[in-house]
Amino acid sequence: MTTEKIHNRQLVFMLFMIRSTVTIATLPVLTTGTAEQDAWLSAIVSLPATLLTILLIGGLAVKFPEETVIEYSRKLLGKTGGTIISFFFLWTFLYTAATEVRIYAELLNTGLFPLTPLIFLVSSMVLLAAVAAVLGIETIARTADALIFFYIFFITASLLGAVKAFDHINLQPVLSRGFGPVFSSALTPAALGNQSLVLGILVPTLTTPRKAVTSAVLAALLSGTVLILSSITVVGVLGPKIGSSSIFPFFLMTRAIEISRFIERIEALVVIAWGMGIFINLAVFLYCGARGVSQIAKIHDYRPLIGPMAVLWVILSVHTYDDLLDLVKFFQPQIFFPYSMTTTILPYLLLWAAYLIRHAGRGEKKYIKKRRIKPG
């Protein structure tokens, strides 16, 4: 089996697109808690939490620069323990991606194609991602390279288009109800840091694994900026009340604005950017899921797994949620935050504990080999 290598820059792009897509999808800082006009503060508050998650996940990954989380969790916790922990991660890959493709399909269904069956929208997106995943992580990374320009351009265009309709009065008063509501809205975005789990699988494919944390932090800062700017813009245009009662606030905002008499209806840009983000998102998660399963099952190549997994994915995506309200409920902080804690943070704390106990006396040199591999 050939080893595939991706550049750290490509990791930044992929992580950036994965995280920003959630922003333009449901803008959780506005729709999940009660922060309302202080949503941008929630965005700022959630940033350090995301960075901590990245340190937790990426920090361990760089200690084992040639192994995936599936492999080193077995080393750290023993065969059974490691396998059990790995299932948590595999579940997150499966479930996060299924949820995100469902949100995208719901948007298309609500806003653009009311009669198209959900399964068609979901399966066409998953099929595309599956093709990319079969072609390998290099291909996905290069696609991210190619799409990132359009992605940033479309988002920037929609944010700039809103300048005319922007009213700073909508953002006041700042912090009138103290920090409580701000934290309530920051929980879900912070918990969405569980997307960084892909680091556990992707780090060994990097050309410079020891810089993985830096790359992931850079991506988190960039997407955090997008999140802060988007929440300011959406609240400034729609007002806190309408913004927080909408399901797709960013989309609603772009529908309501008019750049000039001749340039309006720019919501297509958002949907295209979102589609690109979802594609990268799905492809990366599908790849990571398949790699993980193949390593647990000791299958030499992950590719044959992708077909069956894609089918499971479609079914899970369509059948997990009865309707949009289920989705909205799932992202409420009181459900999503504990969920993410149990499936991501707790297993990693366990791994860290095992690592520190095993390697406390011996020094860390054993697993850290500084190396550099030229991109293949």
Binding site: G111, G136, I169, S176, L238, G239, I242, L252, D301
Partner: protein, 420 residues
């Protein structure tokens, strides 16, 4: 890598097969089956049923040429069609429109949303809600309340436009830029005004003018008397004008405001674009028109001995546009005279604002967002005390208007050239 290669071929084959389905989507909507609605209006009838009235652009209409003469021969079609239907909810009324329409109506190109006075007084939030929820309707359109018969307005012939929808859209946009005698008429701002604490909605008022009256005014000129055909009508007057505003409390309209009062509201809320102020010259010697060039205003709440006070600071800049004086009495345009003009200009603005404020108090509707300014500055005080009783507190609110209004330019001539 043999694997990806083989897979790639397979997937390409699958994609090629899929493209068979894509030759036309199965929910295709041919343009020949569609009609675009350009204006949507809502009324409430005697049985409290919503009535949706739609202006449909007629796809069969051949533009250009001799429309005015409209000989009615053969397949001659009107440029638009006004259609209406009733329902218990706004959406049902909209759906019921299709019963009498031979084409599927599309709503994504609507320019204007109108309300009848009756519906406005009963409450318009159900319709505004529909405009947020529905996937074809959007908020970047103009809106107004119609003073008069809605259907008469929509059937009227606007002399410069084919369609009443375009006419009303342009009327609203142009008037708000040129005269500022209507409030901001974008639907999006109405959503926001409604949801903001301490602020009430204010919609533009579209007044229907009787076509006969218009003709009467212009009827006595000799040109038309000289013309032979008895069927030839006099050129009609304007079928409608926009001036003033409909003031809401909550979702219900509570009264009208005239153009001056509405402009006062625009001064206070910093939404004024352009306009002119007529002032009387000292010693009743004549009139002067000052055009407003720049304008900036700010609402400043403060607490003065436990009482909330509002200061409105208005900074504007005027330009002398004309001077109506008898040629012999032309005043010298010196610094002193300019100062007098400036004082009178500022005084006139202040009076306009006060008039507007008095009218708003009469209607018990805080259309200026004074309450919102207090909420933004003193959120605690607002939540604990004022939010529950803002309506009455607003009526006892004392507001100070500080106007700074220099007149900096006087057009092409310095002063009126002296007469003989």
């Amino acid at each position: 890598m043999p694997m990806p290669g083989r897979h790639f071929l397979k997937t390409t084959a699958v994609l090629c097969l899929l493209s068979l389905f894509a030759s036309g989507c199965w929910d295709n909507r041919e343009p020949e089956w569609l009609a675009s609605s350009l204006l949507l209006a809502f009324d409430l009838d005697e049985e409290n049923m919503y009535k949706a009235i739609v202006v449909l652009a007629n796809p069969l209409f051949q533009g250009g040429g001799d429309v005015g003469t409209g000989s009615g021969g053969g397949g001659e079609k009107l440029p638009f069609w006004v259609h209406s239907a009733r329902g218990r909810t706004p959406f049902e009324a909209v759906l019921n429109l299709s019963q009498g329409t031979s084409r599927q109506i599309r709503f994504s190109h609507i320019l204007v949303l109108l309300f009848s006075e009756r519906l406005a007084r009963a409450g318009i939030w159900p319709v505004l809600e529909l405009f947020q929820r529905h996937r074809e309707l959007r908020a970047n359109i103009q809106t107004a309340v119609v003073d008069g018969d809605l259907e008469e307005l929509l059937r009227a012939d606007f002399p410069l436009e084919f369609l009443p929808s375009t006419a009303i859209d342009r009327l609203l946009r142009i008037t708000s830029i040129e005269r500022s005698i209507i409030p901001d008429s974008r639907l999006l701002t109405k959503f926001i005004e409604f949801t903001r604490p301490g602020e009430e909605m204010i919609l533009a008022r579209l007044k229907v003018l009787s076509q006969e009256a218009g003709q009467g005014k212009q009827g006595e000129d000799q040109q038309s008397q000289g013309q032979e055909s008895p069927g030839q009508k006099h050129p009609p007057g304007a079928p409608a004008e926009v001036t003033g505003a409909a003031v809401f409390r909550g979702e219900k309209m509570v009264g009208w405001m005239d153009g001056h009062e509405t402009r006062g509201q625009n001064w206070i809320r910093n939404t004024l674009e352009r306009g002119a102020v007529i002032i009387e010259l000292p010693g009743k010697k004549g009139l002067a028109t000052i055009e407003i060039i720049k304008m900036q205003s700010k609402i400043e709440p403060k607490i003065n001995g436990g009482e909330v006070m509002i200061t409105v600071e208005i900074m504007t800049e005027g330009r002398l546009q004309d001077l109506v004086v008898s040629p012999g009495e032309t005043p010298r345009l010196d610094k002193d005279f300019d100062q007098t003009l400036e004082n009178r200009f500022a005084e006139s603005i202040r009076r306009e604002c006060e008039r507007s404020f008095a009218r708003a108090k009469e209607l018990k509707a805080d259309i200026f967002g004074f309450g919102n300014a207090i909420y933004r500055r003193f959120p605690r005080l607002w939540e604990e005390d004022l939010a529950g009783r803002w309506e009455e507190a607003f009526c006892q609110l004392s507001v100070e208007f500080l106007v700074e209004a220099p007149i900096k330019r006087s057009g092409m001539i310095f002063t009126s050239p002296p007469g003989k």
